[in-house]
Homo-oligomer: 223 residues x 2
Amino acid sequence: MPPTIAVIGGTGHEGPGLALRWAKSGQYRVIIGSRQPEKAAGAAAELNARLGQSLVRGMANPEAAAAADVVVLTVPYSAHAATLESIRAGLAGKILVDVSVPLQPPQVGRVYIPPGGSAAVEAQTLLGGDVRVVAAFQNISAVHLEDPDHPIESDVLVCGDDAAAKAEAVALARAAGLRGLDAGPLQNAVVVEGLTAVLIGINRRYKVKGAGIRITGIGEEPS
Amino acid sequence: MPPTIAVIGGTGHEGPGLALRWAKSGQYRVIIGSRQPEKAAGAAAELNARLGQSLVRGMANPEAAAAADVVVLTVPYSAHAATLESIRAGLAGKILVDVSVPLQPPQVGRVYIPPGGSAAVEAQTLLGGDVRVVAAFQNISAVHLEDPDHPIESDVLVCGDDAAAKAEAVALARAAGLRGLDAGPLQNAVVVEGLTAVLIGINRRYKVKGAGIRITGIGEEPS
């Protein structure tokens, strides 16, 4: 049985594209989580219609987290702590992949470092050592994510303190058609999260929609 | 008369390659600065031998800064504040391009955020509003910098609060054969500096020497 991924906040900007790519890979069962279960069910139905088969389910966030093997958090930073509180009962012993980016609207092109150091470190602090938090996927523009046949010229930098959890995030990247790279300890997430603000600013200044980053000089290109 | 660039700490890791490329471009007169003037003179002589003409001079750091139009700071973070103090008399009204990266050896693959927020913000705080500080070139590996014919697959992310100063740093990048991109306000330097720690970690983990970053999706490749 393939592992189950829950995409918490999966009806938002980044969630549907990731859910679609993971479901399409055939390597994961996918649950879309939302605060409103009917909204999650609607998003799942839409993805299933695109996939041509019923591979995605919708649930309320806490049930989605509890039913999953790996939990992926894609909510705006303003909902970060409250969402974590709402799902924490279902996270024990699991991997949490935190996609959150601390931004302070309206200055979303300006790097903002939250009080806890980074969103991912705040998540780890809130959840304690029983949950392995990994930071990943923050720099992937949602623009091309929802077209699973569109190659994305951006790497996934993975930060975390648990090697097996980082390897799982690298595998999730690969299943989504992306190259995942080990970017060091969870503490380094401050840079990867902040890079999203830099990319948002570049999108504005250079009048593009999906600026991303690629690590060069490591002699390997993504498939 | 072309503008004069002083590369402070120019006998170190990153300085000679930048000095060589700027001198070779024909667009700048270049001074290598060092704490020891004879060391600066030796480094300048070496570069002139490679260039086949006398384009680079060597001076003590304070004299180099005073003689330059644009000052580029390439010293280890441990010497950052003391070097700035030593050259500040020569910086009034000028642009300072800060290449410094705060690292805490031996954990150089771990992002370290200094008390002042970033090296570049600390420089601006120390120097006051009469000097326009720009952060740039931190992510360029020294490995290929000293071979001016070797293309470098890495972008220069430029952070600063003064548009003209950022444009000058972008021009300096172009003269060195690199693409410079406006990465937002000086506050964003924390991410660009920290990215160097991430790249150092990637070099170690993936057993390469010159990992860099490229911004993708902006539809323009460096020349």
